[in-house]
């Protein structure tokens, strides 16, 4: 064992943190988000038990939430990871010297994302039914607008991520895996929005997914479906998708002016 060689390798990895702000942030990012998410789940369960309320069907709520959250996550990854595939393969330039337009490229990414979502949804639903006798389709017809909303929110986050990767290069790659999870605590995936502190409730009210998960819980618990939630979710999603598209097209032009596009694929 050579201490010198071990320290050389230690240095090799710590140098990365010196040069990359995103890597530095990553050290605290994941533990913080885990703490927030599971902290609020614990608060929710504690509240229910201490108030002597009827325990809801946790299996249905958690599994349903997990499957629906995966729709949002895969939808986002369908955009940003498919984009990164071209960057990693150094194929990016070949695409944009072909007659392919940026709009056509984005539509193709959205289709890939849709394909991934459908496959993941079918596999997860089948496994949940086989392993836990949980039938997600008890949500009924509401499932479709829920899914559409989550897919659109995933696309907006995917476009946002991709715009940042375009602008800041591969050091922003971490966003492809991390940015959707940032929305998880305020999307009230596993607990109602009311569990969150007031300022996070305000933020949650601007997150389309929070309305979907509130709606899902209401349906699973046999309550009436709050259609106003769905409208708010669609409204917010429309605004965010338009903003994400504007940002993406703007960034695409900026990187062409700065000559950064060519470094994407080289």
């Amino acid at each position: 064992m050579s201490f010198r060689r071990i320290s050389a390798m230690f240095l090799r990895h710590t140098y990365l943190y010196r040069h990359s702000f995103t890597r530095l942030i990553e050290i605290v990012y994941w533990p913080l988000l885990d703490l927030l998410l599971w902290g609020f789940v614990s608060v929710y369960i504690t509240k229910l038990t201490s108030q002597g309320q009827t325990t809801p069907n946790f299996l249905a709520i958690f599994l349903g939430a997990l499957i629906l959250w995966d729709i949002l996550f895969r939808s986002q990854q369908g955009i940003s990871v498919s984009f990164l595939e071209e960057v990693w393969a150094r194929n990016f330039l070949n695409l944009f010297v072909s007659p392919l337009t940026i709009s056509e490229y984005l539509v193709s990414l959205m289709l890939v994302s849709l394909f991934k979502v459908v496959v993941v949804f079918l596999v997860s639903s089948l496994l949940a039914w086989l392993l836990y006798s949980f039938n997600l389709f008890i949500i009924g017809l509401h499932l479709l607008p829920f899914m559409i909303n989550l897919i659109i929110m995933g696309w907006s986050i995917g476009l946002l991520t991709t715009a940042f990767i375009l602008r800041f290069g591969q050091q922003a790659e971490v966003l492809a895996w991390g940015i959707a999870v940032l929305f998880q605590p305020v999307s009230a995936v596993f607990y109602p929005v009311s569990v969150l502190p007031h300022f996070l409730q305000v933020i949650a009210s601007y997150v389309p997914a929070s309305y979907v998960f509130e709606g899902m819980r209401a349906v699973i618990m046999g309550q009436s479906f709050p259609s106003g939630y769905l409208l708010k979710s669609f409204g917010l999603n429309f605004v965010y998708l338009v903003l994400a598209l504007i940002l993406f097209f703007h960034m695409f032009r900026v990187v062409k002016v700065k000559g950064l596009l060519v470094h994407m694929g080289e």
Binding site: E86, L93, N94, S98, P99, K256, G259
Partner: protein, 249 residues
């Protein structure tokens, strides 16, 4: 000899600055059908930046580009232009998880090639990719990858071909066959080719005309013999070394 009066590509006072650094300074040139125009110059001379601007990957700071008489900065015209030209660079690869044939199939779709299977078979034959046609791109050697890139570049039978160091990682045999192929298609298909290479013998052998770039400016132009004469050198390699080393010429 320039075969016809109207060029397929016209560049007029093209400049590109990155903050305070001026990468390309008021460059003007024309490319005609049936011509191979070599872009020559040391690293950082501006060759690749010019090619990227021609492809619309980098926007010029000033100046004008006309390809087939169209303006590539206008998106509808850009689409038309790019369907009639193609590009290959040693520094750009192909989708590594796909097989060679699948990869070419994708590009055949992007370029709207009719009868893509027949075209791909012909390209696989032409670029000696038969043995690797069903292999994943990631398993190819650098020479095979370059040949695949070249096959991609010919997928739409381009009228203008931009080649950035296309023979850099080819063995002498394949490089020679590639050069001969380029000379042949230039003649038979009346193709216009813009070519960069650091191989001076290759540039002398293949180029009808040369543009010698240094610090973003054209410092000489003409046939290879004219450029060598202009710098009072023995050959292009000697001229290149003098300029790259900033020797007074």
């Amino acid at each position: 000899m320039r075969l016809e009066s109207s060029p397929v590509l016209e560049v007029n006072k093209l400049s590109k600055s990155f903050n305070s650094f001026q990468a390309v300074k008021e460059v003007s040139f024309e490319l005609y059908r049936g011509e191979i125009l070599g872009l020559l110059g040391p690293n950082g001379a501006g060759k690749t930046t010019i090619i990227h601007m021609l492809l619309g990957l980098t926007l010029p700071t000033s100046g004008e580009i006309r390809i087939f008489g169209l303006n590539p900065e206008k998106s509808r015209q850009r689409e038309k232009i790019l369907g009639r030209m193609n590009f290959s660079s040693t520094y750009v690869a192909m989708p590594y998880s796909l097989k060679v044939r699948e990869s070419l199939m994708v590009f055949a779709g992007l370029y709207g090639v009719k009868k893509p299977r027949q075209k791909i078979d012909a390209l696989i034959e032409q670029f000696d990719l038969k043995d690797s046609a069903n292999k994943a791109v990631r398993t190819l050697s650098s020479g095979q990858m370059t040949r695949l890139n070249l096959a991609k570049a010919f997928i739409n039978d381009p009228e203008i071909l931009l080649l950035d160091e296309p023979t850099a990682s080819l063995d002498p045999d394949i490089a020679d066959r590639t050069r001969n192929y380029l000379i042949e298609v230039k003649k038979t298909k009346n193709m216009a080719i813009l070519y960069t290479s650091h191989n001076m013998r290759e540039m002398e052998a293949i180029s009808d005309h040369l543009l010698f770039l240094h610090h973003g400016e054209i410092i000489a132009r003409g046939t290879p013999a004219e450029v060598v004469r202009h710098f009072r050198g023995e050959n292009l390699e000697e001229v290149f070394l003098k300029i790259a080393r900033e020797v007074e010429v």
